[in-house]
Symmetry: C2
Subunit: 215 residues, 2 copies
C-alpha cells in the first residue's frame, strides 16, 4: 500500500488560482494550469467520457494513466470539494457531477458534519473530522490494500508531506507563472533528502517530477 499524491503546479509553485469569480470559481488560469493534463486521452475518456480515442498520447498521457491505477481511496481538503464556496448549501455535491472520476471512497477533511454522499460509479464522499493521520487511517482501511491518493489541494498535500506520510509524489510543473495562490512547497526545506527524485519533460513543455520515498 502506497500513499500517493499528484498535483499540477505552476513554474512559480502555485497549485491554485486566484482569479476565480462566483460564475467561474476556478478562474481562467485553472484551464491553463491543467491544459496538458485535460488534453490527455486518459482524462478525456475517464473524466469526460469521450471514448473516441482523441487526446494526447505522449509523456503527459503516461502520467495521466498512472494517476488512476490501483487507487482504493482518496483524501481531499474541503476546498477541493468546494466547501469554501458552498459551505452554506446543503445540496452541494462537489465539482464533478453525478458520476465523479474517483470511483472509490473519498474522505473530505472538514469541520462541517455532513451526511455521506453516494454518487454514481462507486464514488462516495465521506465528510470527516480529525487529524491528518486519523483521516489517512480511515482511507487506508477503506482502500483494502490498494493505494491511497492525497488528492489535494496543495495545502492538504503539503500538510501530509510535512508529516512524512506521502510515499510517492508526482508534480506536473506547468511552465506558466501565476504570481499568486497557494504554494505547494512552503516550509518543506530538505524534503528531497528522504526521496529519490526523477524528472521528465513532456512534449507540452510540462515537467513531471516524481519523488519516491527512500528513507
Amino acid at each position: 500500500m502506497t500513499v500517493r499524491a499528484d498535483l499540477n503546479i505552476s513554474l512559480d509553485g502555485f497549485g491554485t488560482t486566484t482569479d476565480g469569480t462566483p460564475e467561474n470559481p476556478f478562474g481562467t488560469d485553472w484551464g491553463r494550469l491543467v491544459d496538458a493534463y485535460t488534453s490527455t486521452r486518459t482524462f478525456r475518456e475517464r473524466v469526460l467520457g469521450i471514448t473516441d480515442g482523441s487526446g494526447t498520447t505522449g509523456v503527459d498521457e503516461r502520467y495521466a494513466a498512472n494517476y488512476f491505477v490501483e487507487i482504493g481511496a482518496e483524501v481531499m481538503g474541503s476546498g477541493m470539494f468546494g466547501l469554501g464556496l458552498y459551505r452554506d448549501d446543503p445540496d452541494w455535491r462537489g465539482w464533478w457531477g453525478e458520476n465523479p472520476p474517483f470511483h472509490v471512497p473519498v474522505f473530505v477533511r472538514t469541520h462541517d458534519r455532513r451526511e455521506s454522499l453516494e454518487m454514481e460509479g462507486g464514488t462516495t464522499f465521506h465528510f470527516v473530522q480529525g487529524s491528518a493521520r486519523e483521516v489517512l487511517a480511515l482511507a487506508v482501511e477503506a482502500a483494502g490494500g490498494q493505494d491511497v491518493r492525497i488528492g489535494g489541494g496543495p495545502s492538504t498535500v503539503r500538510e501530509y508531506l510535512g508529516l512524512g506520510l506521502i510515499d510517492e509524489l508526482h508534480v506536473a510543473v506547468v511552465p506558466i507563472l501565476l504570481g499568486d495562490g497557494v504554494r505547494l512547497w512552503d516550509d518543506l526545506r530538505g524534503l528531497e533528502k528522504s526521496y529519490s527524485v526523477s524528472s521528465e519533460a513532456a512534449e507540452s513543455g510540462v515537467v513531471h517530477i516524481t519523488f519516491r520515498r527512500t528513507a
Copy 2:
C-alpha cells in the same frame, strides 16, 4: 544582439541560499544548488582550469557550454560581486579569483563608487550607478554586437525580466527544496505570454527551462 540570463534555482524557486556564515558565505546549500553545473566538463575547464577532459558531458554540459558562447559583456548585482559582505573592504576583488571566468567587461550595479578593476584574462569589473536600463545600455555598448548576459543574482534578473529587457532566459531548476532565500519568480505573473517556453530534463534530474522572446 541578445540579452540573456542564466540562473540555477531550487524547485521551490530560490536562487540564493540562506545558510551562509562568514567562513562559508554561500553556505552548504550553494554546492547542492550548483552541483550539476559545476560537474560539467565546461565548468571544470572554463572556471576551474581542469583540462583533463573530466566532467559530465550530457544535457547539463550542453547548457553549460552555451552559457559562455557569444557573450560580450555582463551585468551583475552588487550582491553577486560580494559587496553586501565586503562593502567596507576596499581591496575586495570579487569571488572569482584573479582570473575570473567572464573574460569580458562586467558592469556591477552598486551605489558605491569604486575604481574599475582590471583582472587577468580580459575581465574588467566596472562599478556603475544608474537605472537598470542605463546600466544595460553601457553593457550593450561594451559588448560590441555580441550578447549581453544579466548574470544575477535572482533579484537583478527578476528586475530585468519585469522590465521586459531579457530576450532569452535559461533556468536550471534543481530538484531540491531550500525553503528560504530570494525567489526568482515573484511578481512575474504572465511572463510566459511574451515567450516561447521549452523544457528539457537532464540525466542529473535538473530541468532546463528556456524562455525565448516572441513578443
